[in-house]
Symmetry: C2
């Protein structure tokens, strides 16, 4: 009978398409690597984008104090509004508002880390079947999220020879009617690059010409080396509406706390109330950031001393210089000096390393022989490079660079074409 | 030319379908109500499912202490694994494992509140076009999440006359090949009901017969009045695979902290490694709970004194009895005595209240005249009832019940059919 037909006859529980389509390229690549360090050398991981792992970059005492005050107040145990406490949103607005891009509390949505900020921003702007433009090399989460939601990803190129500026012409050529946003990461993970004011203005012109909003991933904002200027995208936009995603993770060195935010920049009312309401509705699906961190946020933003930020930056710059200088003289490697964030990309002249097939092979063998692990940039869809995280203690950085040098010396071969030339 | 055609000619940024389809019935109903309290009476809100709002139910000192220790340790500032620290997962496993339903650390996934646990569970089990069975009356988030993901919702009935047991026959009739899970909330929001062992066994039989997994929302587990037993669904299941969702929010009185979990019960390997891996992959999309709370979790679970739990329960029971007793003698109202959680449902004999169209109208006027706000159960798809939250201070509960009584006295009319009978 009809009833029996509608009944499942045996257990058959399968994960959803969304679960199956949630792909993490870093995991996929790293899990596929044979990482067996040389037992004679202690392991040095230059791969982990978590500045806290080595203990050399603790957050500021004022940050911890703010948390304890929030706990003791007992005022932050209940539910906050889904977009965050008004007072905390106000604090973020005050911190980031500037004359060129003023924002108020209502332009701020607090989220569970910058990741959720990005997820909400993509969710509100894009439908399945749309496409988004993301940087290559770039942070892998954009694609992971988009693909799991049925949104297509088009990669625009960053140019190492131009300090990772965007290939604007190629980027523009990718835009079509189905392009629902352009993601710009500045400063960049994995490049550590920082765009000039002029370059940002050109990016904005492209977006403006095609009427495409921008998702600015500015989680590394203000993490730029001294002498380098890093205006926010919004501060340079007169018409392009921008969702700027940020958070405490990197600059305040507490990525585990999951405090992020979206800043809604919409001076021309292009997002209007619809996108705002969409974000509010989406924020109600899960509820965002822990209320203790929300309660501490105002104090964290206002009471962290400038010296703390400066010290972090000095350290990152100094370590970047050490790494850049050491690797610049290594045959077959082309490090690109960063201007901010906490990463440095190194090009591998693969034709000089016939022992290795690609960057994954190269970095795998670097572990086997030298116990140094760098993330192959294939994880960022950018083969023949690897990424170094420059937050490790200085001694480690020096030691690691020495080992990388040794490794390359050993495997470097003059180009066969060169030798052919000589032979002839 | 082709290029010009592909270009958007003007700004036209619209929220996504998902944003548009994220509907929050509580907000929709409450925002549509005219809530102007009587200026002569202070407002009493019996509507908010947040036990912390009145300050009469603080969390335990041990819970706060655990947080401060976690902060001071500086060990919990970095990223945790996406499914949570192993030590914290182990602590949850130890806390909930029992001989009938043993679980280990790997069966626990930590999430940003029970809400994210529910979201992950639905996400991993269901595809767009599938349907899920949810209780009516029931917690609105299930439908909000499902609809936003293109999953259909079928409501199964809870029976007030049977202390909100499930109408099993009707529930079973809803199951078809596209049914990817049954959500069971026990103890219940909004009913405060607790299922007997026998009833749970019957629910499991239905699921087993149709090979449908269960999402057990057990966020109110162990919040049952003395003398009442409340076994977990998993402890009574021999074959049905169960994702049990829970968290710190209610029992530990810290809903804002966003600490939840999924317990994977799968003794027959029906979920198998696939569903587990699916959950792990989905957990990587955003990253879950704040690491400070994760770091404190073991200590919170192990060091909160039994007296704290007992005191909360005694208070909830006593307040429920006050409310039930007071409203039982009010003409036209039919309160249903709860056995747990923190809610009590009250039926309105609408035919005795001709002044009001429905429960929304009734509760709106209760605010206007008596400054008492109860959530109309239309928000739970269950008209002609309203829900009372029993976490308010006792004086408030007494005062509120008095005012509700006054309100009903004033508006109660003997049934027209009764009076007709008398007339004849
Ligand atoms: C460019 C970029 N955006 C976003 C994130 C995620 O930040 P959060 O940890 O606050 O979610 C990261 C983390 O590495 C990142 O590098
Ligand atoms: C039945 C039920 N499930 C889940 C939740 C959500 O819990 P959390 O605040 O931990 O996300 C609630 C909150 O009221 C609830 O009543």
């Amino acid at each position: 009978p009809a009833k029996a037909k509608s009944r499942r006859q045996r257990w058959d529980v399968k994960p959803s398409e969304m679960a199956n389509n949630t792909l993490n390229p870093i995991r996929a690549i790293v899990d596929g690597m044979k990482l067996t360090p040389n037992p004679e050398k202690p392991m040095i991981a230059l791969s982990i984008g978590d500045p806290t792992v080595f203990g050399n970059l603790p957050t500021d005492e004022a940050v911890l104090q703010a948390m304890k005050v929030a706990i003791d107040s007992q005022k932050y145990n209940g539910y906050a509004p889904s977009v965050g406490y008004l007072k905390s949103r106000q604090a973020v607005a005050n911190f980031y508002s500037c004359p060129e891009a003023p924002i108020a509390a209502e332009d701020v949505i607090l989220t569970s880390g910058c990741s959720q900020a990005i997820e909400l921003a993509i969710s509100v702007l894009c439908n399945p079947g749309d496409n988004i433009l993301v940087p290559c090399p770039g942070f892998s989460l954009y694609k992971t999220l988009a693909v799991s939601m049925g949104i297509k990803v088009k990669l625009y190129n960053l140019l190492p020879e131009k300090l990772w500026e965007i290939d604007l012409q190629q980027m523009e050529s990718l835009i079509d009617e189905k392009t629902s946003c352009v993601i710009v990461t500045n400063p960049s993970n994995p490049c550590g690059s920082v765009f000039s004011k002029e370059h940002i203005q050109k990016i904005l012109k492209v977006a403006s010409r095609h009427c495409v909003p921008i998702l600015a991933d500015e989680i590394y904002s203000d993490m730029v080396f001294p002498g380098c200027d890093c205006p926010s995208m919004a501060s340079l936009s007169s018409d392009v509406p921008i969702l700027s995603c940020g958070g405490l993770a990197k600059r305040w060195l507490v990525p585990g706390w999951r405090m992020g935010w979206i800043l809604i920049h919409d001076r021309n009312e292009i997002f209007g109330s619809q996108i705002r309401q969409g974000l509010v509705k989406l924020s109600q699906r899960i509820l965002g950031a822990c209320t203790i961190v929300q309660g501490a946020l105002e104090s964290i933003l206002n009471n962290t001393p400038q010296s703390f930020y400066n010290n972090t930056i000095s350290f990152l710059k100094s370590n970047s210089e050490i790494c850049f200088n050491e690797l610049s003289i290594v045959p077959g490697l082309n490090p690109v000096m960063p201007s901010g964030a906490m990463y440095l990309m190194v090009g591998i002249e693969m034709n000089h390393f016939p022992d290795f097939e690609n960057d994954v092979d190269f970095t795998e063998r670097l572990v086997t022989e030298q116990s140094v692990f760098c993330l192959p940039a294939s994880a960022f869809e950018y083969p023949n490079y690897f990424r170094i995280v420059v937050t490790v203690p200085e001694e480690m950085m020096v030691e690691a660079c020495g080992r990388i040098g040794e490794f390359c010396q050993r495997h470097y071969r003059p180009r066969s074409s060169d030798s052919n030339d000589l032979d002839q």
